[in-house]
Every structure is written in C-alpha cells, then in structure tokens.
C-alpha cells in the first residue's frame, strides 16, 4: 500500500536548482548579479579573459599555463564548497547522500547555468583510476591566442580541484582535446598526477585522446 498523503508530507519535490531563470538574479540599480541564495556571481567578459591570458603570456611566458592551472585549482576548491553547500541545502541532503545520476545532473545544470559549457562525465575507465570529462562549447576554449596545444588551463585546474574535493583524493587533470584546436569538444583526463605525467609528451608525439587512454590503461 502506498499512501500519497505520506509521500506528499515527506517530500518537497525539488526541481532543477540551476534553472537559469531562477538561478541568476540581477539587481540593475547596484549592477550586481547573484545566485538564488544571494551569493555573488561574477560575469567575466571575453575581452577580460583574453587580456588575462595575453598579459600572463607576456609576463611569465610558458609558465602562464601553470599559473592559470593553479588559479583554476584555487577557484575549483572554493567552487566545490559553494556547490555542496547550496545543493545540499536545496535538496535537503548532502552531496554524498545523492545518487550518482542526481549529482551528475546537478553538475550538468550547474555548468550550463554558469555558461561554462555542456559537461559530460565518462566513468568507463574508473576501474583503471581515470575519469574522463567532456565539455562542449567551453567558455574557456577560445581565449588563448593561436595555441599550439590544448590550452584550457583554468578549466583543467577547476576540474582537478572540484573532483579532488568530491572524491577526497588529490587528482590531477590533463587536457587532451581542445575546441581551440578545431575539435568538437574539450576532453580532460583526471587521475593521480604520477600516472598522468606522460600525457604531455604523448600529445607532442601526436597521439590523440583514444590512443592516450589506451596507453594509460595498459600501463
């Protein structure tokens, strides 16, 4: 016997927390944007991002990627804290209590609402210790000026910190495919730093994502 009165009493039936019309709120007078829990959001114009990339490139040269990656890590750590607090409050359960499918859906909607692209997780290589993240229409792909290799360092840092916090294990992130190089989407591999350290060399040898995954999994 199922009693609807009990179902109705127990549940608040929350929908999509990140529905864009509800999630992003603006105050025209003060010029501020914030999310539905009143936390500040920052709009980053394309020109500013391009300026940061170009400025770093000229100041620190080839180290610009590392600087951006570390900025992304710092951002990702804070972002994870905010994400877990808000999602737990709205859905009335901690993210560790959420079903995987629910959590992934939250992530997808969150990425979309922030304008970072369409994110998909591939856990096919989870048993070998790797997580693959695909991002279509990435907000970060067309910032670097004529890149010679995948250049979404900020995004890689963000993913690395976010999934490290989520899994409780320090994960590194390497990008293997980039929209800025004409690919249809960005691909990132997450795993232990030591196991990912050859990826850059393999990319320079001309290996694509599939062969890199093969090499990683056979190691």
């Amino acid at each position: 016997m199922i009693t609807i009165a009990d179902l109705v009493q127990d549940s608040s039936f929350p929908g999509n927390y990140f529905a864009p019309d509800a999630y992003v709120q603006g105050d025209f007078e003060s010029g501020l944007i914030e999310n539905r829990q009143g936390r500040r959001l920052l709009a980053l114009p394309d020109t500013l991002l391009k300026g940061i990339y170009a400025g770093l490139e000229s100041e620190v040269g080839p180290a610009a990627g590392t600087v951006l990656y570390n900025c992304g890590r710092w951002w990702g750590k804070n972002f994870h804290r905010r994400f877990s607090e808000e999602v737990s409050t709205y859905y009335r359960k901690s993210i560790s209590e959420m079903e995987m499918v629910e959590l992934l859906q939250c992530l997808r909607q969150c990425w979309k609402a922030h304008g970072w692209g369409i994110i998909e997780l591939n856990v096919d290589h989870y048993q070998q210790g790797f997580l693959v993240v695909k991002v279509e229409q990435s907000a970060f792909a067309n910032i670097a000026k004529s890149p010679a290799k995948p250049s979404c360092f900020l995004e890689a840092g963000l993913l690395s910190a976010f999934f490290s916090e989520l899994s409780g294990t320090k994960l590194h992130c390497e990008q293997t495919t980039c929209e800025s190089l004409g690919a249809d989407y960005n691909l990132f591999i997450l795993g232990m730093a030591k196991r990912l350290e050859s990826i850059n060399a393999w990319l320079e040898q001309g290996d694509d994502h599939a062969s890199i995954m093969q090499r990683l999994c056979s190691n």
Binding site: I2, I4, A5, V8
Partner: protein, 152 residues
C-alpha cells in the same frame, strides 16, 4: 499569460490601449481567473487525484519494487505541481527549465519509462474526472509538453 499582459503594459507606455487591446486584456483577466480555479483544484485534490493512481499502479505492476513506484509517483506529483504553475503563468519555458530538464536523465537511469507511461495515462484519466473539459483543455498543453519531453 504574464508575458502577454506584460506586452500590453509596455504598449500602454506609448499610448492609451485601443478597444481591441482592452478586449485582449479582459480576455486574459478572465482566463487568469479560470486558471486560478484550476490551480486551486489541483492543489486541493492532489491526494484524491494520485491515491487511486498509486493503487492502480500496484495492481498493474505487482512485481515492481514499491520504492520505484513511489519514485515515479513523486516525479509526477512534482510534474503536476510545476504544470499547474506553468499553466497559471502560461509559461512553458518555466516548466521546461524547472523540471523537464531535470527529470529525463533520472527516468532513463532508473529504467522507469514503462512505469511512467502507464502512470501518465492514469493521471490523464484522473484529471479528466477532476476537471471540466474546458479546464482540462487549459492544462493539457503543459501535460503534453511534459509527456513529450519525459516519455516520448
């Protein structure tokens, strides 16, 4: 509807609304009154609408896990609540963003399509009994939108 009224409000900034526009305004006000009644009916009869559906589902799917049936019921309790508000504000985008972009992955992941199809057909029958044909016709586009997104 809110957006239709908004359009008239904007128009009234530039000039007095003409008779034709005022007729539109009146018809929308009348429609809003009807929609409010439907919304109240859905709210007041939520349990009466869904209890027979729950009973029928247990008979139709005797071997199905009860938790799965409860989950499907929660989905549609939720969908009907959002359909109610979307109907009240005549806003299909609201329905799409708030719930219809949220549920499909979960329905697929739990392989609930067949259960939810049956639930939807029971729900339609219950709503036809609860609402008059005119009232049902105002809600139907939103139910169809939900069906198309979640089940087709």
């Amino acid at each position: 509807m809110i957006t239709d009224i908004d359009a008239l409000l904007y128009k009234a900034e530039a000039e007095y609304l003409q008779q034709q526009d005022l007729a539109k305004f009146k018809s929308q006000m009348f429609s809003l009154e009807q929609r409010l009644k439907i919304y109240e009916l859905l709210r007041e009869n939520e349990i009466e609408i869904f209890q027979p559906i729950a009973n029928q589902l247990l008979i139709t799917f005797p071997d199905e896990d009860q938790q799965k049936i409860e989950r499907a019921l929660k989905h549609w309790l939720s969908v009907l609540r959002y359909c109610g508000m979307a109907m009240l504000s005549n806003n299909q985008t609201y329905l799409q963003h708030r719930i219809l972009e949220w549920l499909p992955v979960q329905i697929q992941a739990h392989q609930m399509e067949s259960l939810e199809h049956t639930l939807f057909s029971f729900l339609q029958k219950r709503l036809r009994k609860t609402l008059s044909p005119e009232q049902f016709s105002l809600l139907q586009p939103f139910l169809e939108q939900a069906k198309t997104t979640l089940l087709d």
